[in-house]
């Protein structure tokens, strides 16, 4: 009987490329690469202006069997540690209460980033034509699913085993009112999955992962350990064991377009936009979480940033690519200024808007104020004296009738939201790189804090239409908005967020907020 054309093709292929005689992973990997497909009709959600080469390599030579074995060992070690020794020694209750609050933000936000990275790397799989490059992206899709589960699990663990579960267990339902959520979705969602596929890769892999996962997922474990948290190093360092392959995927994406004419036209602009997009949020938020959300300080955030972002990512990744035309990001000077000051600016605003959050904040103690002044000369005159005033006015006490947002109103320091990054800023009271710019489009005003976001907006204004909380809740009273936006604990009256972490301190309720009669107003309407 005649054999089918398919069987004959397979027989011929095997004759030309004999199957390996052993099951050595890299021998199998080499053999598999000789089987390729025709990707002429690739379909992807967003196309790319770059042409990706079809001979790009995957640096770790993974096959499914070794990948699965490797990942299962990682999970066994991680869950074994959490469920055995860390539970036995009551590790979740040994965490400093301030750091417990920081982890509500870090782990919940990272979970969103990991979830969106699943779609981002799926899109890259669709875009690439090189089999090995596809193999790398496919591994990353699976990794991102793992990471989403890990972030969800660490919140579950903190909520179940630890202290003050509110915010670990139900953070996402506050996403409409929390002023940090929308900016997080700009970097962790929109930046990864919307637009040119290669530009998304630069956002996710070359900047988000190769640069900012080092402070976010590695350096954070130093702060965690210093503040009594051994769960976070167990989970986050395991997450990061996959990130090195993602960094390699990002680098190989650049390799795949290095000889494309489009790279000489667009790559530096795309890199600069991605760098500014990612740093605009990560720089102030991570700095705020590390320094203001810890009791024991590891080092000033600006030093962490200088090491991992400027010296090592800048020098080892970007600097080395200089001979291929990759330039130092043009926004670096402004980013460096932000790394020194923007987290202090953000904490001032975050503390003022504390009732809209899902985590507890606390004012710097006198010892911490000394540390800030020693490491950031000029800190006290700008920030410390304001905290002293707020404390004297009873900002922590529900019976005081004082919310720090009143200080901004009394002193005529309006808070705006940057339309592109969705990060709040106060141009009349800040030391970071923020100045007010206002533009009109389709009868609507838009505020911007910097030239880099403004430039991105000017090139595609319809992309940035997200309403901010001041527009969304204009004219509404604060306690109504908190109740509507799920900002309450399970008793239905106490706020999830609080302006202190003192376990014996009184907790603010909806009634305490209502008495103050704080009403949202859109600062752009006053212009």
């Amino acid at each position: 009987m005649a054999i089918s054309a398919a069987t004959k093709a397979a027989t011929d292929a095997l004759a030309a490329n004999p199957a390996p005689v052993s099951v050595g992973a890299q021998e199998v990997h080499r053999w598999m690469q000789s089987f390729t497909w025709d990707f002429d009709k690739n379909r992807t959600k967003y196309s790319t202006k770059y042409k990706m080469a079809n001979d790009t390599k995957e640096q770790f030579k993974l096959i499914a069997k070794e990948y699965a074995r490797m990942e299962s060992v990682k999970d066994e070690r991680q869950f074994g540690s959490l469920q055995d020794v860390l539970t036995r020694v009551d590790a979740a209750n040994r965490v400093h209460p301030k750091w417990n609050e920081s982890m509500k933000v870090i782990s919940n936000f990272l979970e969103v980033g990991e979830y969106n990275a699943i779609a981002a790397t799926g899109m890259l799989w669709d875009s690439a034509t090189a089999p090995e490059q596809k193999n790398g992206y496919l591994g990353q899709v699976l990794d991102e699913i793992r990471h989403t589960n890990q972030c969800g699990y660490i919140n579950y663990y903190f909520a179940k085993q630890g202290q003050d579960a509110a915010g670990h267990n139900d953070a996402r339902r506050t996403r409409a009112i929390g002023p940090l959520w929308k900016g997080m979705k700009r970097v962790f969602s929109d930046g990864f999955i919307s637009g040119d596929a290669v530009e998304c890769s630069i956002n996710l892999q070359l900047v988000g992962e190769a640069c900012f996962t080092n402070p976010l997922i590695v350096a954070v474990t130093e702060w965690a350990s210093a503040n009594g948290d051994e769960m976070t190093p167990t989970v986050f360092l395991s997450i990061e064991t996959d990130e090195l392959r993602h960094m390699a995927n990002g680098y190989q994406t650049v390799v795949s377009i290095a000889n494309d004419e489009a790279a000489s036209k667009y790559l530096n602009t795309d890199l600069n936009n991605a760098f500014w997009t990612q740093q605009k949020y990560f720089t102030p938020v991570l700095g705020m979480m590390f320094e203001y959300g810890s009791h024991f300080k590891v080092e000033p955030w600006v030093k962490t940033w200088n090491r991992w972002v400027y010296e090592d990512w800048g020098g080892i990744w970007i600097g080395r690519l200089g001979k291929y035309g990759v330039e130092s990001p043009r926004s670096l000077r402004d980013a460096k200024k932000d790394a020194y000051w923007a987290h202090h600016d953000l904490f001032l605003i975050a503390y003022a808007l504390w009732p809209t959050g899902f985590f507890r904040l606390s004012l710097p103690t006198p010892e911490e104020a000394e540390w800030y002044e020693a490491n950031y000369p000029g800190w006290y005159d700008m920030y410390g004296k304001v905290y002293d005033e707020w404390r004297a006015r009873g900002c922590e006490d529900p019976s005081s009738g004082f919310l720090p947002i009143q200080w901004f109103i009394e002193n005529n320091h309006p808070i705006y939201i940057d339309r592109v990054s969705q990060v709040p800023f106060c141009p009349s009271y800040c030391k970071g790189e923020s100045t007010l710019r206002v533009l009109e489009f389709n009868g609507k005003k838009h505020s911007f804090s910097d030239q880099w976001g403004e430039r991105m907006w000017l090139s595609e204004p319809e992309r940035y239409e997200c309403q901010n909380i001041f527009e969304q809740y204009e004219g509404r009273e604060l306690s109504e908005v908190i109740a509507e936006g799920f900002g309450l604990r399970s008793d239905g009256k106490t706020l999830i967020s609080q302006p202190h972490t003192n376990k014996d301190g009184k907790l603010w309720t909806l009634d305490d907020i209502k008495k103050i009669n704080c009403v949202f107003s859109d600062p752009l309407k006053a212009l």
């Binding site: 005689v21 052993s22 992973a25 890299q26 021998e27 990997h29 080499r30 690469q33 390599k57 640096q59 770790f60 993974l62 070794e66 074995r69 490797m70 060992v73 990682k74 070690r77 996962t213 080092n214 590695v218 474990t221 130093e222 350990s225 210093a226 051994e230 190093p233 360092l237 395991s238 990061e240 064991t241 090195l244 960094m247 390699a248 680098y251 390799v255 600006v302 030093k303 200088n306 090491r307 010296e311 090592d312 990512w313 800048g314 020098g315 080892i316 990744w317 970007i318 600097g319 080395r320 291929y324 130092s328 990001p329 670096l332 000077r333 460096k336 020194y340 020693a374 490491n375 000369p377």
Partner: protein, 141 residues
């Protein structure tokens, strides 16, 4: 404290307050500078502690005098000029069990530089793999 220029707190990182700010904001430091160093973050584990203590800081210490290893609580932080290489057949002999390059990757947390595997060897290098230097496959038997 290590005096190597590759140490965790080398150079500007030793400065504090105004002295740090002056250098950080200096004109020369407003653009990135090309670096030929590589950084490796190894999650602490039974096997990786052996790799660090017995191989990188033990039998192979003389191979790369620029290598600095620092204990950062949950992980080992390594920085070297040029490259860092780990041969897993050697680790296998030391551990007394089969230990492949993929077993090593279970606890390699982060890399700054171009990392790759070839056979049972893990390498992180400052070379531009795929651009200046071709990435190799395992040679056919």
């Amino acid at each position: 404290m290590s005096k190597s220029s590759n140490a965790y707190n080398a150079g500007i990182m030793q400065k504090t307050g105004k002295a740090f700010a002056d250098e950080y904001f200096s004109e020369d430091n407003q653009v990135v500078h090309e670096s030929h160093e590589v950084v490796l973050v190894l999650k602490k584990s039974d096997e990786l502690n052996t790799v660090v203590e017995e191989i990188l800081l033990g039998s192979h210490k003389a191979d790369n005098p620029t290598l600095v290893v620092e204990d950062r609580a949950g992980f080992w932080w390594l920085k070297a000029t040029g490259k860092i290489e780990i041969d897993c057949t050697e680790v296998s002999e030391l551990l007394g069990k089969h230990y492949s390059v993929y077993d090593l990757l279970v606890d390699v947390s982060s890399t700054i530089g171009r990392a790759y595997t070839l056979g049972e060897t893990f390498t992180i290098t400052s070379e531009l793999m795929g651009l200046d230097v071709k990435l190799k496959d395992l040679a056919a038997a």
